[in-house]
Symmetry: C2
Subunit: 218 residues, 2 copies
């Protein structure tokens, strides 16, 4: 379907997190604060907010330079990494995303794949960081790199596990030039084929860009 | 053309500003600072940045609540306000966008219209705020509201003029439920018909959302 015919908002499903003060963030990342800078209620002519937050807040896309010295910043991401056909794969495992559950999907080079786990239903109900979210196992990350997928999306704040394999998984993916979307909320999305549009803000040499992500069923 | 077939990045033209420390901003808005929070070069396992900036930084979409008490926040913007067919109109006037130059284009209810002025070539070469940018005249803003256009985009940081009609123009547009995109760089864009995708980050009840905006010729 052409985007020009997308005159019905309901065609697109928003899978982005809502950014707000005090929302969950990776523990050693900056906290999120949205505060009034100008304020109608206080007599200013308009409302303007001051944002203080980390580059990996909410729904975002990692730059390759997030873990890879000299890797491409988010401003250099080719737009087709996050615009186009994408496959949403449902994951039953409540610990991690493992090769055994991915392999039957026969992923191909260039695929954009988003993993829907129990995280989507479970982790976004609260502003406290959830430590035991479902992450990508190191073997699965290496498998995705081997398959040369283009883009990987997950439904919590990191592709790697907390106090676990964060470094290994990011190195396997970003080091292979795979673009990573984190912080998707896929609770309204059934596994299947979709059109994906995910656009990160263009921060100069940014290690990530906060993003809006939307899906439309094919 | 389907977004799913958009496998060539060059199909889409990026019309977003690059966000960087010290970039131009509206004078009474917060300055822009991107600083390292975690840093590979200093021995951390990854790069993470802390962002301090205003909600109206760079390319962004205004919430209706920017100037209208109780107006919709940016998180409530219907996605089709900024996704779909858009018309880029070239403006020759180097002072302001006036009714005389818009009227021949016969704008219709629901149209998305982006104005390309000399701003695109002139104002983004420097980090100092340009005071005498081309803005929308109050009469033209009222005309656009009367025509019931859906969305208006401009190629500098405000639809209204500096120390001029900022309040009047925002009231005319936002008060009529017209969505406003500011800070587009249209220097690479010829007037004509395009597919527009502009996605602002989803800030809860936000008075604006920083955005990425792209165009594809029709």
């Amino acid at each position: 379907m052409s985007v020009s015919s997308a005159n019905n908002s309901s065609d697109w499903i928003d899978v982005s997190l809502t950014i707000h003060t005090g929302m969950a963030h990776w523990p050693d990342n900056p906290g999120i604060k949205i505060e009034p800078s100008l304020c109608l209620a206080h007599g200013d002519v308009c409302n303007v907010s001051k944002l203080t937050l980390g580059s990996h807040t909410g729904t975002h896309v990692d730059g390759l330079n997030h873990f890879i010295k000299g890797g491409l910043g988010i401003d250099k991401m080719p737009l087709d990494a996050t615009i186009g056909k994408a496959r949403v794969i449902g994951i039953e495992d409540t610990e991690s995303i493992k090769v055994a559950e991915i392999a039957p999907h026969n992923l191909q080079a260039g695929d954009r794949v988003l993993f829907k786990t129990v995280n989507s239903e479970r982790c976004y109900q609260q502003d406290d960081f959830v430590e035991d979210f479902v992450y990508i196992s190191t073997e699965a990350a290496e498998y995705l790199a081997e398959r040369q997928v283009r883009t990987v999306g997950v439904d919590y704040l990191s592709v790697g596990g907390y106090q676990g394999n964060v470094v290994e998984v990011h190195h396997a993916l970003l080091g292979s030039g795979i673009w990573v979307i984190e912080g998707l909320n896929l609770s309204a999305i059934a596994p299947g084929e979709y059109e994906l549009i995910c656009l990160p803000i263009k921060i100069q040499d940014g290690d990530a860009g906060l993003a809006r992500a939307i899906l439309k069923p094919l």
